[in-house]
Symmetry: D2
Subunit: 362 residues, 4 copies
């Protein structure tokens, strides 16, 4: 029997609004046990005191718990990220994996998920985490019968260092890479990204040294986005690929932006995802991860966002990219996220576009 | 003898950096007496306490005063607007008008400037201001021998109501449209925009009632941008057109965006300004004025910017449009401004692209 | 049998943290049916997109609903206000009213609550609301057998105008005082404050004209705070007084600050609430409502907060007053709120200090 | 002949407003050559993109340059710090040192200034800087014939690491303590503070190790404030003391706040500066340096400022302290500054109050 991946997109009227998903569950359009991953974009500041993430997570937890699915025990991955700056609309994307009687055809969207072995606090941001993620991605590929080259995108939910992790480390005289949760995010993201790059053979093992992490920007994956915020010290990976072993007609394509204005890469990605030119058909989901260049320059011109103490640089970034991607693709349901260490080239980013030609967005 | 308009663009290393213009003046590349207008985009918040505008204005004043040109006496128009959110780079554009020995040819960029008769504080935001601006634009057209249909864009510097204007009004028991400078901006912009629309025959006089101002959004100009901030109660208009009476090969084209993601309109405007597709040639200047839709929706999706109390909605707007326009045109030297009452359709905006095929940007 | 009022203060570890109250309910220290009012200070921005208020309200609703008390049906008043700028700590105060066998003694804290008759949307911010609130306060006084002069403080939860209220008004061609919820807050607060002032005989009816509302700042109450945000169009008033008909030894005293630095008024209020000098004993609750002066001056010196577009003026206000009151009283559990139309003199504010000498704060 | 120190305070109507000082210079009330130090509080965000500091510095430079005094060549110290959050009013304080014919009397305010030997970029934030500052303070004491115990306060202007300093360091393969100017501020402040503590014998040399800097918070000065921002790599110290060798009757006293609400320490400092209780007389200047506690707690209660990504923690701090100090002293001309590494105990701060009983503030 074939497998089939389905992508569902729902608008959210407020950070705790899971009513559209509830309706779909009620109607039987989604099987709660088949959900692999939920990715949510909420409207908070996407920074330290962003409570909208908690609201969305808790609302989803309550909804699914009533249907026997627990977010706490890791039945599925739930990635919530704040920041609808610009024109991004708050929304959630639900990825479902089902058995299917549909006939085999061309390649369709494939999804696999794996959870890594637990790490120690002092391993976050180190080669130990890099290799842990590499192994986790490889395990997911096996599971989904995907080769590295069939992979289009990997979304990682990375652990961060909470206070109790720090206390644990100190009790063993172990030294962590960062003193608080916020400071640990660049480290955990960087290590995860390099782990994906190794698993997808985008870099070779001998290149990746302890000293490369958050330092050697020539090393990066073109096919991953990492979001920090897992409270337990495990890395969750969700792999998206195109495979003839899957059916249903859903598609995904990845792209890599060379800089923030690289709309040609977006157009090309949309085309490869099966979206016709002219924006007549909308994607089912768009994931983007990128950063402004550390040089403070874009095409040779001075950028002020890195020095803006009133509006965080990453809020500038998300607003800009909502416009760049929104204009290219015609949709404002974009999961745009910043903090792209080793994810895409310096000053650019990585992109995934999902499309389901036969199933227009609800 | 023909006239010729030249457009010069200079980056700014800080809000008071007028060194690139100083160099050009020093080298004789620009004649200070020939400057019609300077438009500056600085890196402050573009809101009430944006001191970067003062810095730029004062630096330019000092530079030009040393060369016999006074900003205070109205020898030229200086429009300074803060807000380089997203990827906009701080920069200034200098518009120069010279006599020319060049031969006549196809149409070239034409520039005209006129200053309106003084208004009373209580006239700001009323039909009196609408008609004042209409007459001022018509005078500028006469001056430049331009017909209304040859006009591509009108940039207006509108007066606002300072404390001493309010005191003056109260002394005559006159009632103003707004209690403070900040509150007067939407009114002065709206009246100016409708004045341009009348002069350019985009609306007819019988449609424009006192009650239409900031209320009837079906009335708007497709070819103007208004910036508030003139300390004396006069409206300054700078008209840009294409005319065979002018020479030099510089070009301008206007466009009108139906919504914030309308990149097709941008592409079309760039093409009509003479920029080849593929972003190989950069414009000499880009002016944009637009607003998020008052409905809070974009293509049917909920937008959060109007309810963001941490980052002002207009800062969201500027960041988005720096990306949308920047990606379409390949340049980050964009004068993007919000507060677009009666300037473009609700939720869209107006655009001017300047190009000078033979003279690459410094 | 006498009545007794008890004041309970609980810290909150996050906006949805009602665990301390849950523990007290579990232990029987608080009777859910006896709760008159809960006042919560949460850590959001206290402005338009402050979701922490929703989190706290929802968490409290769930907790109490499980014990048979509904926030929706108006069994009690729940006032949630965001903004812990400065040193204010997130916390909640629970006011309980019980029958008591304790002997009569000196005057003790008395609490009464009343809910006004429903208003029409177009009545919000008008004399109709003023008189509605006056009547409601008078009813509460009767209930609690309090005279106007025995009242120390009145906390009002005022309705605001939501979208459906506007639609209702428009369907009857009625004109409301403000176009949106945020804009309706100054109006509803002003009308409620004048209603309290009338009920407490602080102003006389002939002074309060339709045109006085949000205009004649010589009219104000010295003993009330109004918080906008009631979704149904009713005014809820909670009256705090000192009465010999009540027992238990809890106390309240009010004060009126002439300006933001008036620490003498704070010291005096604390003393009258029974707190010994020297800050050895903490109050059980502190309520403050105030605003910066509209003149932009404090003791003759220029204040910049009204022109700060990055940090909202009311956030400045709350931060300052957390320091002024916190230093005077030695506690950071302060319900500090801005938006004080007709509440205290221009540039000052109103204060209530609660103390329970025999029952140290948990 | 005796020496005399005078303290002048001037309000500022905007960040570049030096008109009050200009008037005083014009009137001969201040001798430009006698100015030792100018300390300015401007109304910007006090963070990375605060251009108001540049505006004030440039305006002062132009004013003094026209009178033969250069800020560039170090004739005097000019300390400009942004951040008038809360109720602080923008203002400048001018410290003047003159010969005097006045008779000796009790102790009067003494001022001395010294500039340290140039440092290398890699020495910033290290013991080398600590000892450099120690020596510089000792030199200033000699100059002013002050003993360490006569010193009330030391204001330090500390160098920070600009891009060209980093390039210089890298060219010698030297490693700096921080990668950019903003990141270098905590290091340069910490080293300067410990240098003062050594010079004033508040700590002993054997306690201050390389590893103590920004780590051992038990080491601190009770009598200094350090502001980072010197573009050349020299430390400027201005020492304020009370000495019988000086005349004129001006006074200074220092205090040390144990936490942010320690108004008793403020009251005591004001009293020792000669201000009568009851706030009838205003100080001529108030300097404060402090930080919220790293624990995130104040008197055991949770503080949210460290996790506020919308309003910077140091902006919270400045707003609070404008209220705490303003209420205690009755003035809003407060130079309140955050970033208090080794300056006062953790969670507290250092304070200097200047008074001139006979000369009321202009």
């Amino acid at each position: 029997m074939m497998k089939e991946a389905r992508v569902h997109s729902f608008g959210m009227a407020d950070p705790a609004d899971v009513s559209a998903l509830a309706t779909a569950l009620e109607a039987g359009a989604i099987d709660p046990a088949a959900i692999v991953c939920v990715i949510i974009k909420t409207e908070g500041n996407g920074l330290d005191n962003d409570w909208t993430r908690v609201m969305a997570f808790d609302a989803l937890s309550r909804l699914l718990a009533a249907r026997g699915v627990s977010l706490a025990t890791g039945d599925m991955s739930c990635i919530v990220s704040g920041g609808c700056e610009g024109v991004t609309t708050p929304h959630m994307t639900v990825f479902e994996r089902r058995a299917s009687n549909a006939p085999a055809g061309g390649a369709s969207l494939a999804i696999a998920r794996a959870v890594g072995a637990p790490l120690l606090p002092e391993q976050i941001g180190t080669l130990a985490q890099v290799h842990n993620v590499q192994a986790t991605v490889e395990r997911a590929l096996d599971q989904a019968q995907l080769t590295a080259s069939e992979v289009e995108y990997v979304q990682v939910k990375a652990p961060w260092l909470l206070d109790h992790h720090q206390i644990d480390a100190r009790s063993r005289a172990a030294i962590t890479r960062a003193a608080d949760a916020h400071g640990s995010k660049p480290w955990t993201r960087a290590a995860c990204a390099l782990g994906v790059a190794l698993a997808l053979k985008e870099v070779v093992a001998t290149q990746v040294l302890e000293s490369s992490i958050n330092a050697d920007w020539s090393l990066f994956t073109r096919r991953a986005a990492v979001t920090a915020g897992n409270d337990h010290l495990q890395c969750e990976v969700v792999v998206f690929g195109m495979s003839k072993r899957w059916t249903g007609g859903a598609r995904v394509a990845h792209g890599c932006l060379e800089d923030l204005l690289d709309s040609a890469a977006i157009d090309d990605t949309a085309r490869r995802a099966g979206l016709p030119p002219g924006r007549g058909t909308l994607p089912t989901a768009v994931l983007f991860k990128g950063d402004p260049a550390r040089s403070g320059l874009l095409r040779g011109e001075r950028q002020v966002m890195w020095h803006d103490s009133d509006v965080h640089p990453l809020r500038h970034l998300r607003a800009v990219m909502s416009g760049v991607i929104g204009a290219a693709i015609g949709s404002t349901r974009i999961f745009v996220s910043a903090g792209a260490e080793h994810q895409g080239p310096q000053g650019g980013g990585t992109l995934a576009v999902f499309a389901e030609p036969s199933a227009p967005r609800p």
